[in-house]
């Protein structure tokens, strides 16, 4: 049987999700063709505004041409489909391409509604939907001082944020008496308005724009129906969306009275070979303008198309969707749940206002006070997850409704009844549609931390809003399994690394015996000894070979070099920022030649010298130290390298001196011991040649200062770093890195990289920002002092060691002979040495006669 041909018109988020879900398991059964009207494949429209704060089009992309090619998906970009011929089952594009289909999926999305205001079709007047729109708005901003957004809804406030990011004096003009009229009530709208005004955005409500004419002080003047006016240089319309149903009209499909393609629960239109999904579709006379319902429709269509073979045979139909939303607008948390306006007959309303903290909460409960029906939250949306579950699952309240609104007293649980009250079907992650049951199954299957849960269920990887709830489900399920959340370091210490760190810090413990007698048992092992040595170093910074510490060090720290598979070592001198003089380069080359070392350039812009034997290490390092080179700590759980580009020194694109900054940073943090290795990089412009976004700390120059990224990772689990702060100056940059680095040192698990550490922080990036920028925990002074202590007590470990005859005794292969290890054998590969001792597969069993 030949493959069924599926044509997907529209490659937005929903169209792509459909393709993704279908191609995942059924690429052999279907030939998939998709048409995109825009110049690129699907990208994350929800995150559109982040385009101005560091995310590139590539960052926002949900797929790539390569990925589609690999899945065998045929795609056409810049190709708008303009007509549909149901009789012949073909669609035709604007450029005249005609293609047949077996099944057609309309995912044409929506278009921004622009009211018929005279003067709307002029330059510097925009809508806010595509990356092209954003490029054009940015262009306008270059010649503008004032910008106005028409429309104070969710998207309008996003657009206002964007104008503000672009440096414009920003105004929002709203027709209704309050902001976000759909989601908020008067109280919530008023609080949001005051908060946004504090941020410098002027809000005008009850303004009906009559016309846009030439301005006197600005490019335009907007005249309002009430006789008032506003002058502005740039205008962005955000007055709602309309379903893009033009194509459906050409094919004479059934539409709603006010537009939208009518669909049933399978997302089928009245033509049973045609599905419609996303914002162009009309279900039960409703359009769903959020991403979660769009994804749900895509799944329903895949389920029906594959005759229920997808999703493990589960019946997945579209049964409407909850339109609750939670978001952060201009830094203000806003959420709306269920029946936010109290439209249910006899519903009762309670509200709570804390004007000093800027918090507004309202709940709508059933007439018998037993069920939560809806809510509005402004200023603090931390209750969102819990309350949404109460509404969606119709969970009976365990206390009087007003208890929900009051801050928790004496640690009593709030009226929600906790995570255990949620039924298994409760949807925890609405973006990816992951239920409590899915999460519990994954935990049972071994995914027992947040990072693993995210990667195997997808939960928390959409908007991230459900992560706190996800954490609660995880912990509850671990409890159920009888896995007390066991953070013990090893069998000798029942404490977590973080707890041990605090004990060592507070009790000023400086050696292992003292730590064991304080809180451990037995005599230590290969896990707790290096971990303790690492914590002692992070706090007290004594030399790693001090008498009391030497027995705790892993061999790499112990001999200040990296042991390779044949027992020889590699040597990495520090080359700060990757900058090296020809003299040092020659010296390194001469040493390598003299001691016959294999040389290789590392990924971190350094030079690695392999094949040195124990007795050679001090001799080599004497030469290096005498010439002014220092240890590179390639052997330590510590800062490795700060990679850089040449920045403004040489590069015609550079906007800051990235090399100097990299050297400054590398020298500042060299030798600081941390739970795992730490990598950094500094790029001199947005071209990002130093690949800073794959580092634990990435710094990218802007024309105003630096953007700081955190928690990136290459290696086995690559992760793009998150933008932590934008356009900060040198001092702020160092201050933030000091605090984040030390907070990581203090709170991470053993051998936990910053990426996993941050993903496991409850509250993630936002929490980290709160700790670092707002000093939420009031520990920043302490962390800064601690870092300063480490900086002040830095020593080149090799310099100290080569001057200590007692320590040097250990740098010989034999304690009782000057002979060398005869099992170190090299062969020649491409003109350099390579280990030649074999790794025996059948392990030799030798048992000496005693």
């Amino acid at each position: 049987m030949s493959k069924q041909k599926i044509v997907v018109v529209g490659n937005g988020m929903v169209g792509h999700h459909f393709i993704d879900q279908l191609a995942k398991d059924f690429s052999d059964d279907y030939q998939i063709v998709t048409f995109a009207e825009e110049s690129r494949l699907a990208y994350d429209r929800v995150m559109l505004t982040s385009y101005y704060t560091g995310n590139s089009a590539d960052d926002l992309a949900l797929t790539t041409p390569d990925a589609y090619d690999a899945q065998g998906i045929e795609y056409h970009i810049n190709e708008k489909i303009t007509s549909l011929d149901r009789h012949n089952k073909t669609v035709t594009s604007a450029s005249g391409k005609t293609i047949t289909y077996d099944k057609l999926v309309l995912a044409t999305g929506s278009f921004p509604f622009v009211p018929p205001v005279p003067g709307k079709d002029q330059p510097n007047i925009h809508v806010y939907r595509t990356l092209e729109d954003l490029d054009q708005i940015a262009d306008s901003a270059k010649t503008s001082k004032i910008g106005v957004v028409i429309g104070g809804g969710l998207l309008g406030l996003e657009a206002a944020n964007a104008l503000k990011q672009l440096g414009l004096e920003t105004h929002v003009v709203e027709f209704a008496p309050r902001l976000m009229a759909v989601q908020l009530d008067d109280g919530g709208g008023a609080l949001l308005r005051s908060k946004i005004s504090e941020l410098g955005v002027t809000v005008h409500t009850e303004k009906n724009t009559k016309e846009i004419v030439a301005g006197e002080t600005c490019r335009y003047r907007m005249n309002f129906a009430d006789g008032s006016f506003l002058e502005t240089d740039t205008i962005v319309f955000s007055a709602g969306i309309r379903p893009q149903d033009h194509l459906a009209r050409t094919g004479d499909l059934t539409l709603g009275e006010r537009g939208g393609i009518s669909i049933d629960d399978h997302c089928l239109t009245n033509d049973h070979d045609i599905y419609a999904i996303g914002e162009c579709a009309l279900w039960d006379n409703k359009i769903f303008g959020l991403i979660a319902p769009g994804y749900a429709m895509a799944k329903a269509a895949v389920s029906h198309l594959t005759e229920r073979r997808a999703f493990k045979g589960k019946e997945v139909d579209f049964k409407g969707a909850d339109m609750s939303t939670k978001l952060k607008l201009l830094g203000v948390e806003v959420a709306s749940i269920g029946d936010a306006h109290g439209n249910t007959p006899d519903a009762q309303v309670y509200s709570f206002i804390d004007s000093s903290a800027g918090i507004y909460k309202k709940i709508v409960v059933s007439s018998d006070s037993k069920f939560l029906l809806g809510a509005v939250l402004v200023g603090d949306s931390s209750d969102y997850g819990q309350w949404l579950q109460l509404v969606l699952n119709k969970i009976e309240l365990s206390q009087a409704p007003e208890c929900l609104l009051l801050p928790e007293m004496d640690g009593e649980a709030s009226a929600g009844g906790g995570i255990d009250a949620l039924p298994p079907s409760a949807q925890i992650c609405s973006c990816l549609d992951v239920s409590k049951q899915d999460i519990c199954d994954a935990v049972d299957g071994g995914a027992q931390d947040i990072a693993t849960l995210k990667s195997c269920t997808g939960a928390g990887t959409g908007c991230g809003g459900c992560v706190p709830l996800l954490t609660q489900v995880l912990n509850a399920q671990l409890c159920q399994l009888g896995v007390s959340v066991d953070n013990s370091l090893c069998r000798h210490f029942s404490h977590s690394r973080q707890e041990l760190f605090d004990i060592i810090r507070v009790k000023e413990i400086r050696n292992f015996d003292a730590l064991l007698s304080e809180c451990g048992t037995g005599d230590g092992c290969e896990i707790c000894k290096p971990a303790a040595a690492n914590m002692f170093a992070s706090l007290w910074n004594d030399h790693v070979l001090a008498t009391e510490l030497v027995g705790l060090q892993d061999t790499n720290d112990n001999f200040h070099a990296n042991m390779q598979k044949d027992g020889t070592y590699s040597i990495v001198p520090r080359i700060p920022g990757g900058e090296i003089t020809p003299d040092h380069l020659i010296l390194i080359g001469e040493i390598a030649k003299e001691y016959n070392l294999y040389t290789k350039i590392t990924g971190g812009q350094r030079i690695d010298l392999f094949g040195a034997q124990l007795h050679e290490l001090p001799i080599i390092w004497k030469k290096m130290v005498d010439a002014g080179l220092e240890t590179g700590h390639a052997y330590g759980k510590s800062l490795r390298t700060v990679k850089s580009c040449v920045g403004t020194n040489w590069c015609r694109f550079g906007v800051q001196d990235s090399t100097s900054m990299a050297i400054l940073i590398e020298k500042r943090y060299r030798g600081v011991r941390s739970p795992h290795k730490v990598k950094m990089a500094v790029s001199g412009c947005a071209r990002e040649c130093a690949e800073a976004q794959s580092k634990d700390f990435g710094i990218i120059a802007t024309d105003k200062g630096w953007n700081l990224y955190v928690a990136g990772n290459g290696g086995m689990r690559p992760r793009h770093a998150d933008l932590f702060a934008s356009d900060i100056d040198d001092a702020t940059l160092l201050r933030y890195i000091d605090i984040i680095f030390m907070f990581y040192v203090r709170t991470a698990d053993r051998l936990q990289r910053t990426s996993v550490w941050m993903e496991n922080l409850e509250g993630g990036l936002d929490y980290l920002k709160d700790v670092v920028i707002n000093d939420k925990l009031k520990i920043n002074d302490q962390l800064l002092d601690q870092m300063q202590h480490l900086i002040d007590t830095y020593q080149c470990e090799w310099k100290t060691t080569i001057n200590d005859p007692q320590r040097l005794k250990r740098f010989n292969h034999f304690i009782n002979s000057k002979q060398l290890d005869d099992n170190v054998i090299f062969t020649d590969v491409r003109g350099q040495i390579s280990p030649a001792n074999k790794v025996s597969n059948a392990v030799e069993i030798a048992h000496a006669v005693n």
Binding site: M563, S817, N823
Partner: protein, 120 residues
């Protein structure tokens, strides 16, 4: 008590002080490489104990065990290979993570501050 016979039986290797507590060294002994460990902790009553096993890590075919960490579990002392962390019992030479593998052990003692290995 150091009779001539004893001197012939036990070979001096190094001073105990040459082995920092809770570390190891490698000795050349009858053409073999022997890893000698110096154990000392409060748990052991701050008395110095010495243990000796082959220096060859059978999993990697590299002479490195003297540079491994000493690890205790249920009062038994092991050395963890510095390469891939397999544990070897310092008294029996048995590998704790692979019962088919073991390494040679040697008689070792401290006499007058000197570490000695017994010839055969």
């Amino acid at each position: 008590m150091n009779t001539v016979a004893e001197q012939q039986t036990w070979l001096d290797i190094c001073a105990l002080n040459d082995i920092p507590p809770n570390t190891g060294v490698c000795a050349q002994f009858n053409g073999q490489q022997v890893a000698i460990f110096h154990l000392s902790s409060s748990k052991l009553g701050n008395v110095s104990l010495v243990k000796a096993v082959s220096n060859l890590d059978p999993f990697s075919d590299a002479n490195v065990l003297s540079r491994g960490l000493i690890s205790e579990n249920d009062d038994i002392y092991y050395v963890a290979s510095p390469l891939l962390k397999q544990l070897f019992n310092l008294d029996t030479g048995l590998c704790a993570t692979d019962e088919n593998v073991s390494i040679a052990t040697y008689h070792v003692r401290v006499s007058d501050g000197l570490v000695q290995l017994r010839r055969s």
